[in-house]
Amino acid sequence: MAMKVYGPAMSTNVARVLVCLEEVGAEYEVVPVDMTTGEHKSPAHDARNPFGQVPAFQDGDLILYESRAISKYILRKGGSDLLRESNLAESAMVDVWLEVESGHFSSTMSPIIFQCLVVPFLGGETDTKIVQENLEKLKTALGVYEARLSRFKYLAGDFVSLADISHFPAAYYLLGGSHASVLDAYPHVKAWLAEVMDRPSVRKVVELMKLPSA
């Protein structure tokens, strides 16, 4: 039975899971969850994700939520080397930069994406103060990334890992949005992101993200 991912591909957290499925070449099905009608708060979805969020994930009897937990499960099951768990030092660095992705990159991108894309879509007005505040935080983080990526090819070291790939969903929206030029001051970051976005798995999921979603 194919693994199932519940939620729209255009959601950054759903996309993260999809890219891992693509990385291991797993058979999977994306099951739509219509967030515009509140389907993510329905009893059926609640049974899969009690926090009423997407993604939810199912592999046989196993139901998981939280995209980074799901991603690790998929990569381990698929025998991927993107976590480096057979090497203490390398896996530790993957964990460090996954925390950084979550706490510094995606956390600042999330309100920017919400204000610039979701709010107008729902007929509201972008709060530019929130966008500016978070862009400043993002620049601070990008400064650290630039220094890191000037020393190492990838975030965890000289090997690509989930820490790098986990950035792609927020990066996709940054690169496609009106604030992409913020990256110009960080050439190593820009080049690193371009390489991540060029991975076949990422290209495939980007196509899914562009589809008119269910």
């Binding site: 998981l64 937990a69 964990d95 925390e99 510094h104």
Partner: protein
Amino acid sequence: MATSAVKVYGWAISPFVSRALLALEEAGVDYELVPMSRQAGDHHRPEHLARNPFGKVPVLEDGDLTLFESRAIARHVLRKHKPELLGTGSLEQAAMVDVWLEVEAHQLSPLVIAIALECIFTPFLGRERNQAVVDENVEKLKKVLEVYEARLSKSKYLAGDFFSLADLSHFTITHYFMATEYAALVEALPHVSAWWEGLAARPAAKKVAEFMPVSTAWASKKHE
């Protein structure tokens, strides 16, 4: 006598630093806590930025390895010394540990930290408690705790019937929260309450609790 191979940099009163210490205590690993002063701005000095370019604590040095981010540090310590606490060896157990670690990080801790900050730490921040912020987070927390109660009604611990980092990772932040009047939210839920008491009774937790003293005398109460 050789110096400890493992060093943790930071102030133990921080629940993030103490999360790292808790992992080390639970794993029975010798370590040295290198004290730093938040007031003196030690975390902004170049020698600290060389260890953690984000200028935060904790930092862990283990031989040649320098790590930051408390959850990454805890994972490393346990992967090295007590991998069963990560569910290692079972795809499903490891997944459940990861799920509840993420839940702690994203669903629970932001709320608990916001409440504890307003109720306990505002005197140190030189400002008054913002009750509106407390109330907003309390409403969200009630819903999240219902999910925990449902989970802990089905299994002894968060990841399943085995104790794991998922449980451990909750201790230091919840320790502060339980010193506020909102501890009643936890006490009202029989399974969460029992789980919390079990967690707090662990020798490693008791040891680390000593680094994080909370006096109810200075935890600000609503009507004082």
